[in-house]
Each structure stands twice: as C-alpha cells, then as structure tokens.
C-alpha cells in the first residue's frame, strides 16, 4: 500500500484544473456571488421599531403576548392558527406568535425544551408534507426555516446552561431527543431531494440539519463524558437501566412490525430482506451494548445506545415510509452495483 500511497499522492498533485480553466471558473463564481449578494441586499427590508405604547414596559413582549393570547382564546382564532400549515394565511401567526408564546408561558425549562423539540419536528414535518404537494410561498418558507433555526439555537443554549448548572442528565435527554428528530427528518428530506430534485429547498434544509446534527452530536459526546463521574454514578446506573428497557421495548415493537409486514404479503411493499438485515444489525449492536456494560465501559455504552436508538428510528421510518408513502427507500447496494457494472 505504501507504493500505492505514493502513486495516490502523485495523482493528487497532477490532477487539477488547468490555470485557464481555474481563471474562467473563478471569474464565473465571482460574477455569481456579486449578483446573488446584490439580490439579497435588495431583498432585505429593514424593520422600523414601532412607537407602541407597550414599549414603555420592560417585559412588554410578555404582556403583549398574553393579551394577544387572551384575545385569540375568545375568538377561536388561536385554535385555527395552531393547526395552520405553510401557505395558510394563519401560518405566520402560528410560527411567529402562537409557538413562541407557548414556549414563553411554559412553566419549567424542561417543558420549554420539550416544546422546542416538538415545534422543530412539527415545522420540518410541515415542510416535507406541503412541499411534496405544492410550492411553499417564500415568506412562509423563510418563517419556517427561521423558526427551526431559532428553536435549535435556543435548545443548544439551554442544553449548555443546564449542563453548567450540573444537570447533565437532563441536557443529554434533550440533546438525544433533538438528534433523533433531526436524524429522522434528514432521511425524509434526502429522500425528497432524490426523488423530487425540483424541490431544491429540501437539499438546502437537509444540509442545514446536517450542520446542526454535527453540533448536537458534539454536545452529546461531551455530556456523555461528563456523566461518567463518581457523583453521577447512581443517576448513570438508573439511566442505563432506562436505556436497556427502551431498547428492549423498541426491538419487540420492530419485530412485530416486520412480522405484520410479512403477514400482509401482497399489500406490503416493504423490502423485507433489507428490513430484516437492518434489524439483525441493531440486535448485534445491542449485544455489543450489553458487552460494554458487562466490561464496565459505561461511557462507550451510552454512546452506542445513542447509535442504536438512531438505527431503530431509521428502521421504523423505513417500514413506515415504505408502507404509507409513494416515496421509495434509497437502495445503496443498487447504486453501488450500478456503479461497478
């Protein structure tokens, strides 16, 4: 291989764009970024602060929001807005008023975080389901992406704060919940951009989720290391017991899903062989998880648990999408085979 490494390096040095090509492409890129920046600048509308009476209050946003909510409750508008989806006229109200207000009024930090995760999930779900049917208008799309970004940013801040307050177990739970939601939606968005390349925003959103997943994963790794301290031993043991139970329940549920898919024969379009392979892989990982615990490598077991849960979520989604939607699941093996052929 050493000889090959040398050849590889030689290849790397020799295969590049010619000077002329590089100049042409660079000029084109500069032209593009100048044009795009100009469009962006002209799109930017500066908002002017209103000389509103409530501006006199220090916590004016809280007072204002409460008043708006009381008003909505009396008219039933809030209920309608809460169910609005992109392209509905009440959607902006849901994203900009109802959801932030619900978070604001949640009594504890934990409940606030649960709501944030729920809203990220809901927004991404809305994006996928609506964009498959019709184009989402620009304003709603921007509001949706902004809402997802803000909620994720706030969640990351809260996780860090909670960690500083020596509550890493809570932080880890929230971070795992967020990761699970983001991973599931990434699969859906990737599938959408593969099957419907015209929905370019799906790809952009998927890349954004990728970035966020990286951050969340780093947080999880840091937290998992922190949890492995003597002070937290009891909490950790309790946590591991919970994890074991969760894995067992999920495995049973999955086994049942696969069995049902097998029994339904003609109507099922699930690729059973692939589902079973994925299931076997999860079982192998679970065995590894148990071995790590027996060997006292709790930290590694926690990280592995996270991966197992992600795989379980993916398999659940795999079965669900195959059964309910027209979207086909990517077949990496087929792609590889095609390439080699």
């Amino acid at each position: 291989m050493k000889n090959n490494n040398f050849k590889f390096k030689e290849l790397g040095n020799k295969i590049k764009l010619s000077k002329a090509e590089k100049e042409i492409y660079r000029d084109k890129m500069l032209e593009f970024i100048n044009k795009e920046t100009f469009i962006q600048k002209s799109d930017n509308k500066k908002s002017i602060a209103s000389p509103f009476y409530f501006g006199l209050f220090i916590r004016r946003h809280l007072v204002l929001t409460s008043l708006v909510i009381i008003l909505f409750l009396s008219t039933g508008l809030m209920v309608s807005a809460d169910h609005a989806i992109p392209n509905d006229y009440l959607y902006q109200m849901r994203i900009k008023v109802i959801e932030p207000a619900q978070i604001l009024l949640a009594p504890t930090a934990e409940k606030k975080n649960n709501l944030r995760v729920k809203f990220v999930d809901k927004s991404l779900n809305d994006f996928s389901s609506v964009s498959l049917k019709e184009n989402i208008n620009q304003e709603d799309k921007e509001a949706l992406i902004e809402s997802v970004s803000i909620n994720i940013e706030n969640l990351n801040n809260e996780i860090n704060n909670s960690n500083k307050e020596n509550n890493p177990s809570n932080s880890l739970k929230t971070a795992n919940d967020l990761k699970s939601v983001l991973s599931s939606h990434k699969i859906i968005l990737d599938k959408i951009s593969e099957t419907n390349p015209e929905i370019t925003d799906a790809e952009i959103l998927s890349l954004k989720i990728d970035e966020e997943l990286d951050k969340t994963e780093n947080i999880i790794n840091t937290l998992a290391q922190k949890i492995q301290t003597p002070d937290d031993t009891n909490i950790l043991d309790q946590k591991i017991d919970d994890q074991k139970e969760k894995i067992n329940i999920s495995l049973l549920a999955l086994q049942n899903d696969i069995k049902m898919a097998k029994d339904s024969k003609s109507n099922s379009i699930v690729d059973l062989k692939e589902a079973e392979e994925k299931f076997t892989k999860i079982k192998d990982m679970t065995e590894e998880f148990n071995i790590k615990l027996e060997q006292g490598e709790k930290e590694k077991a926690i990280i592995l648990y996270d991966q197992i849960i992600q795989k379980i979520d993916e398999l659940e989604l795999f079965i669900k999408i195959n059964q309910e939607n027209n979207i086909e699941i990517p077949d990496e093996k087929l792609e590889n085979k095609k390439d080699v052929d």
Partner: protein, 172 residues
C-alpha cells in the same frame, strides 16, 4: 453589510484553496472531466446560496463543501446510468491539452491505478480519494461523513484491502 463582505472574503479564499480538491473528488466519483468541473462549480454555488439565503453559519467550510459535493455526485450518478469501464476510461480521459495530464497518461503505473480505482465501490473510492489524493485527515473525513474516526480508519483499511485484491487479480 460588513458581515456579507466578510463572508464573501472567506468564501473566495475557500474557493481558491479547495476548488482543485473538490474537482478531484468529483472526478473520481463521476469519471467525466467536464461533468466534474460542473459539479465543482455547482458545489460552490450551492454553498454560497446557503450562506446568504439562509444566513447559515458554517463552522468548517471544507467539511461542508465535501458534503455538498458528495450529495451532488450521488444525484448525478442516480440521474445517469452507469457507464461501462471503456466508456468511463474514455470519459475520464483527462484533458489532452493539459500538459500535466499528458505526462500522467505516459505513466503506466498511474494509469493502472486509475483503472483499479474505477473498479472500487463508490464509498471506497470516496475514502481513498479523500485520504490519499486530497490528503484529508481521518478526523476531517469522519466529520464530513458524520461518523466516528475509528469507523473511518476501519473503512479505509478495507478499501486498501479491496485495492490490493484488485492488483492481485491483475498479477494472476
């Protein structure tokens, strides 16, 4: 406004630093020089759109560029049917006007290496391209592929084994 200018500066620097590497990465994915140039350009275009339209903050632009390039190449492969080996060699037939490449074509060993790389699975090809041709660290590849460095090391060893086997077949 200052932020936009700063982003522009970082982006142009990234273009100058990484355009060759991204081009090589795409080339060893699609084995078509013209297509690889287009994919490289599109990778940077999409990244810029991401930066300005979504006000996205990118922590590691190199990793981000590879991820976009990977997605673009996968889409490209899905769109087009797989080429035969002869077609691939013909299409990859690096620009004959380029002096460097003409010299490269004279080197039989490297020619054989290119042929062997084409026979590898796409994932193996990706890993070897990133690790040995573009000289990325294992930790950087792990970040790009959203996986653990240990996993990447194992996969690279496997890809090296596959390449070795391909050489052995040739010798026999």
């Amino acid at each position: 406004m200052k932020q936009v200018e700063k982003n522009k500066e970082i982006f142009i620097k990234a273009y100058d630093d990484h355009s060759d590497a991204i081009f090589r990465y795409c080339l060893f994915r699609v084995f078509d020089r013209e297509k690889a140039k287009e994919l490289m350009q599109e990778t940077f275009t999409k990244t810029w759109e991401y930066i300005i339209k979504d006000k996205g903050k990118i922590d590691n632009i190199r990793a981000f560029l590879y991820r976009v390039a990977h997605n673009m190449c996968v889409n490209e492969i899905i769109k087009n049917k797989a080429y035969s080996l002869d077609e691939m060699s013909e299409k990859a037939g690096f620009d004959p006007e380029d002096k460097n490449i003409r010299a490269l074509e004279d080197e039989t060993e490297i020619k054989i290496l290119i042929e062997k790389i084409q026979l590898l699975k796409p994932n193996e090809r990706d890993l070897l391209t990133m690790r040995y041709i573009n000289d990325l660290k294992v930790s950087e590849i792990a970040k790009i592929l959203n996986t653990l460095p240990n996993t990447v090391s194992v996969k690279i060893s496997r890809a090296e084994e596959s390449l070795k086997k391909l050489y052995q077949i040739n010798e026999k």
